[in-house]
Symmetry: C2
Subunit: 199 residues, 2 copies
DNA sequence: ACCTGAACACCGTTCAAGT
DNA sequence: ACCTGAACACCGTTCAAGT
């Protein structure tokens, strides 16, 4: 409105920032490039100077989201470094809490068809990093002799599937989020590992 | 639903049938009412005689999908009625296999934002039925004294989360489906219950 | 070099009008 | 009663033209 100025230089970053806001607040289904351009006060064709297409912008936004996700997992990972079992449990809780707090972001990262078209090489590093936190934690548990199962890969996938599935069920409101207190999450995550740990 | 033949005889059902085909083959993201109409050879406004809007058609298609899903679970449920532990394992395997075989349908049922707008009351009966198969199976396991955990709800949610999460990871190709043989599925599902069963 | 405006091909949805 | 065609408001994307 007041802004009829020539936008220099920073449009690319502003597209990412405003785009992320809209995407995370409103979800993928109603996300449009034209809305982002309008919100910034630029013509609807302007984004094409900086991004090949709509998906290219979404990939860029996703990259930032993956970093946030990694950070959310890294915190408990380092905090409970010396208590393998607790570390694995806290990792699971952090995963689920991140999903609850960032449902639209989580959907873009894990539940959208877009992902197939995303250039995996771009995001695989940090993605692998997130996964490696889990694998490391499982290794620690096995190494410290706390588990009954010794298969790192199988136990990692098992844990991942569980937190991923519980996150999905909660996000989709198949399970009423209102009922999902911190205590319930704590209980479920502990129960999910219980079978494989010596008591 | 009785139908007078004017143009095609039964446009309503043809919309559901052709719509389901397109939806399940190509996915939600590229699904359009206009394409369905064109494929049938009817004007793009014609569907609005039979459905309030696009989502209304999708809900109808979803209902059919939920029935198929229920049937896929009911088969092992009744087949292994007298072997509680095996019943639960086969139920999990059937869940995962259905997801792999019907990824787009599964996404519509469980992973789309649409679901929130879907009139849950319409689908909750059969949905509850599917869930009750799982709960029944867990109850059987507990009743026959095979498990170390006695909390029906917690154990049901645990099992559901695991198969749901593994399905999601496979569908999203976070895990390479090529590597997911029947043996791997069998192994994972068994491992997921192993901790809670006396050996 | 960066941005605009018109243009094109697609959408969902509504509605007066045709059969 | 069922369907059509025009119309409207939105999309993504391209491109010649403006600054």
């Amino acid at each position: 409105m007041e802004n009829k100025t020539y936008h220099h230089g920073d449009l690319r970053n502003e597209l990412i920032e405003v785009g992320a806001k809209l995407l995370i607040e409103q979800g993928l289904e109603v996300f449009s490039l034209r809305k982002v351009a309008k919100e910034i006060g630029v013509s609807h064709a302007a984004p094409y100077r900086h991004f090949k297409d709509k998906e290219d912008l979404i990939v860029e936004i996703s990259n930032k989201g993956i970093e946030e996700f990694y950070n959310a997992l890294a915190k408990p990972f380092y905090e409970y470094k010396n208590q393998p079992k607790l570390q694995l449990i806290e990792l699971g809780k952090a995963y689920i809490k991140f999903a609850i707090d960032n449902p639209y972001l989580m959907k873009i990262l894990f539940f959208s068809d877009l992902k197939k078209k995303i250039d995996i090489s771009k995001i695989s590093d940090i993605n692998d990093d997130s996964y490696s936190l889990l694998v490391d934690s499982v290794k620690n548990c096995i190494a410290s002799g706390e588990t009954t199962v010794k298969d790192v890969q199988a136990l990692s996938l098992l844990t991942w599937s569980f937190v991923h599935g519980l996150s999905a069920l909660m996000m989709e409101e198949v399970i009423n989020i209102g009922e999902i207190s911190d205590e319930v999450i704590d209980k479920m995550v502990k129960l999910s590992t219980l079978g494989y740990f010596k008591s």
